[in-house]
Symmetry: C2
DNA sequence: CGCCTAGTTGACAATCATTCTCATGTAATC
DNA sequence: GATTACATGAGAATGATTGTCAACTAGGCG
């Protein structure tokens, strides 16, 4: 919970994340920074992404291939609707889903549940 | 879509999958086979797992670390409630969730949608 | 302002799951 | 039994991610 120290690298990474509404891989973010003025080490990108994720500042999803994708994210609980072609992501909420997850978990005696919901499809621009 | 050829290795893998109700990684399955009489190459395990997954014979989920886990699975559409401690997995269905996913997708102009829902918690035995 | 200390960084090696390569094996067909 | 196309296995290759460790720097202190 210690306040992390603001650094040039961290700021650049945050900027790169804010600059896109789509999910990007760590590698992409690293490359994007490299193409600009700022140079940030790959390990640093990973470290900060991890830190930001555990602070809830970014969201993480996984491609079917298992690669992690990150995106700056508002802090309320929500899920994603992702275009499989262009990667565009829309945040969606669903009170019904939350309730369903709770109920199902309780029915089976599970506690401390978390859930992930990802919807993948083809958006109107790409179909 | 060609019928795959039945082989000793494929059968052994199928048996290993049937033998457990929990999700197992490809590495685990490979090790389990190795400990028994049957020896199956790691590449073969991956190849068959992949083939079986695309035929819908097994389900695939990903650990938070990105490792793929497989499990023999009945063919109807459903989701999983997984214990984060012991790995026990319960199949759950939720008509409400399906409907919600459809509606949300349509609202945003998405088509050909697929969705994944995973609920992770601590089961009664492990809490 | 100059110094100290602990958190940060970056280059690169190391890991680890997964995929690729290609020579060899084998099920199905004739 | 001969043929052929698909399957297998050993090991190399890949590629994302993590670990290592010396060099760097933000912030507090005098």
């Amino acid at each position: 919970m210690s306040a992390r120290r603001p650094t040039r690298q961290r700021a650049a990474l945050a900027r790169a994340l804010e600059g896109s509404t789509q999910f990007s891989s760590a590698q992409e973010l690293h490359a994007r920074l490299r193409n600009e003025d700022t140079t940030v080490g790959l390990a640093t990108v990973y470290r900060n992404l991890q830190a930001m994720a555990s602070e809830g500042e970014v969201d993480v999803i996984r491609t079917p291939e298992g690669e992690a994708l990150y995106r700056a994210c508002s802090t309320h609980h929500h899920h994603h609707l992702v275009c499989r072609v262009c990667g565009k992501a829309v945040e969606v909420t669903g009170a019904g889903v939350e309730a369903w997850a709770e109920r199902v978990s309780a029915e089976h005696g599970f506690s401390s549940v978390q859930h992930t919901v990802e919807i993948v499809g083809t958006c109107s621009d790409c179909s």
